[in-house]
Symmetry: C2
Subunit: 437 residues, 2 copies
């Protein structure tokens, strides 16, 4: 079994230290390094200050094989990273002609003469491998490690530059620099509308079953990612190990909860859209408490106009009647949040737009508007299709945004279940089972 090299990440940025945004570069690098067979053992954020950075970097050189530093490679006086890294790794800075030429070309292409001070960006520690920047100005570099010292990679701060530069550096140089890396395979199961506790109950034993695999749950509101990371000496062995665990999890939890698997990124909206595009079927939406959010999610994707014929945000009772033809009398008698009205909304949207399928949602998102019979979090869903109209009531915990997000995911998942022939009422009842009326 091959080694897992330890790595550390350092980001430079006063804005992060002021709380303007979180350190998302560290997050991106962590994922990339994880997939490349590293164990990330610390993150640090340093200010634009040479002595602070020197302290943090010196400390970071201990106990690891790789330090990735980002930011601080610009042309201003605040940009101290190249000097500090050269100093701490005991190297002098030398001028790199090719970097200077690339920078000059980039400026010329924009019709600007390169300011003299930018030449500072063409200096790198002696003996370092230069990481050319095809996405921006500042070149990065890689100082190879030794028995006493880890390798140090310096990258510019903008994610559109440092992310592809790190990936390319790994592809080009890591095979040689870190020959004993273990290979990791990541397989992700995407689960819809299931409580985290239910997953834990059903597959608890999988979390520690295999010393060479790590199973993590990342819970969202209606979308849980279960990530299996397996290590082995070669990719095929790692892949088989991860797939074995994923298959066992799938059969224990119930395959109908899994709406996508494999890649890290998947979403219910894209899944539903792809099914409908493949079938050539069309959709309309009648949204009350979700207020356009389902439509927004589906139109995030180019080409969704062929599928989504129309969306109605019928937040008021009048618009339910006017736009969807829901009888005012029905709303008066049953209330806007009721099985009768949500079915009439779905059927109305389908009739008005001429779509094959429709989804309707009506609920109490809160914080106001709840009652004993229909407390905050009560939401009715309906999916209408060529064969039938299905309806379902759930009650969600949490604040307005949480209830709305659960509702969007439930709507999309209910549609997915109808489209794929899965049970519309999942075997595991609700997240918070509604009290019987």
């Amino acid at each position: 079994m091959a080694t897992l090299h330890a790595a550390r990440i350092i980001s430079s940025g006063n804005e992060i230290l002021q709380g303007l945004y979180p350190d998302t570069n560290a997050q991106r690098f962590s994922r990339i390094l994880l997939e490349s067979g590293f164990r990330v053992i610390s993150h640090a954020v340093a200010p634009d200050d040479a002595s602070e950075l020197r302290g943090i970097l010196t400390h970071a050189l201990g106990g690891c094989s790789l330090v990735v530093v980002n930011g601080g490679l610009g042309p201003t006086e605040d940009d101290v990273n190249r000097e500090v890294i050269a100093q701490v790794t005991g190297r002098s800075l030398v001028f790199d002609e090719r970097s200077a030429t690339m920078m000059r070309k980039r400026f010329h292409a924009r019709g600007i003469e390169m300011p003299e001070r930018n030449l500072k960006q063409a200096y790198v520690p002696e003996g370092a491998i230069i990481l050319h920047n095809h996405w921006g100005t500042a070149a990065g570099f890689l100082v190879p490690g030794s028995a006493e010292q880890p390798a140090v990679i310096a990258l510019p701060g903008p994610p559109s530059e440092c992310v592809p530069m790190l990936k390319r550096a790994i592809e080009k140089h890591f095979e040689e620099l870190f020959p004993l890396r273990s290979i990791r395979y990541i397989h992700t199961l995407h689960l819809a509308m299931i409580p985290e506790s239910t997953i834990n109950e059903r597959v608890a034993h999988l979390f520690n079953a295999d010393p060479d695999s790590e199973v993590t749950l990342l819970a969202g509101r209606g979308h849980i990612r279960m990530r299996v990371i397996s290590s082995a000496g070669d990719l095929e062995a790692a892949r088989l190990r991860a797939l074995r665990i994923a298959e066992e999890a799938s059969s224990l939890i119930g395959a109908d909860y899994i709406f996508a698997e494999g890649p890290e990124n998947a979403s219910l909206d894209e899944t539903v859209l792809k099914i409908m595009q493949a079938n050539g079927s069309t959709l309309s939406l009648a949204e009350s408490c979700t207020g356009g959010w389902i439509a927004k999610r589906l139109t995030d994707f180019a080409g969704s106009s062929a599928t989504l014929l129309a969306g109605f945000v019928t937040y008021s009772n009048e618009s339910k009647t006017r736009e969807l033809g829901v009888p005012a009398e029905l709303i008066e008698r049953c209330g806007a949040v009721s099985e009768e009205v949500v079915r009439a909304m779905a059927e109305g949207a389908r009739r008005v737009s001429g779509s094959d399928y429709s989804v309707a949602v009506s609920g109490v998102a809160g914080p106001g508007g709840g009652s004993t019979e229909k407390p905050v979090g009560t939401v009715w869903f309906a999916v209408s299709g060529p064969e039938a109209t299905h309806s379902l009531k759930l009650r969600f915990p949490g604040d307005r945004e949480t209830v709305r997000m659960w509702s969007v995911n439930q709507s999309l998942d209910m549609l997915r279940r109808v489209l794929t022939g899965a049970p519309v009422t999942p075997e595991i009842p609700a997240l918070i089972p509604p009290k019987p009326r």
Copy 2:
């Protein structure tokens, strides 16, 4: 002038190191500490590992007055923070009876007997101030500093617990522990639909004008926050200093670009909604390329149903005709992305819903669908009101999501301008001025 104490933040969490999410606790703490007169000089993320944490914490004790640590206070073996902090600050752990009682009560209230191992959470370093947890189980603590050593605060990881606990600790103990803190006042200007470069041109001199004030820009797509942080010996002096800079910025940039000011958080959706609620006026939406996103943003707020009478997601040409009465011939002749059609959409939405105002958007969000005459990023906007219908074309840079987000903010800002009588075509032309047709 009072001192700015330096502070460091350490978060514990393997999930952050695996790249599952960024360190948002550090972001929250940074803001809170900044407002309380601290300069945050580093962030670090440590794994659930005693020896790593010991190294990071020992290093963090240098060069600052305060270290805030979060996470790792749970009952399991992985939770090593209380032991490591006691060790590094040279104190032994002692049992705190009140913490134990509070924990027992919390378990009893949920009808569960407290597991024995949870008692671990009632131990704190000798001489530490206990920070009781009214929002969860684990108590935190504050080890006061000395001439040789900074103060160390330990807090649990969940944001719903550690954020109020830190705020309370600051209120209760900092006056005494950090008597020389300077007072800071933060005033934020929220600017709509203006390029960052224009702000820089107009107010560049303000960024370094006052040594006791810091001016930062945080740019979003259509919403730029300009944050002024001023320090002084007392709050009123700090406030006046910040307001003076904000006023100068406002008059140089143009007051009509500022849609909110004062607090850190403000949004165009909420601003527009409040104006309409105050006027008692109503709204309808006709969204093409924004696909429901404007409706979603407005319905994020409870009570928006009284204002938003109806939203139409008319992504297809047919639905523009069917739902909004846009003549098919007009779409055929001018194209869906045209001044004629966007005006007809706005007027149709207003007519159909009976609202006082309406907003319509139609554009090419990309990546496909562009042409020489109407390249990707071209978006037409219309606002229709009792007096007139206004229309405007802009062209936005970026990918599909970016174009859509710019478009949502432009729609809301155009409505705000109509509602407040500001010029609908801002003096500063477009972000990317459209080429003349």
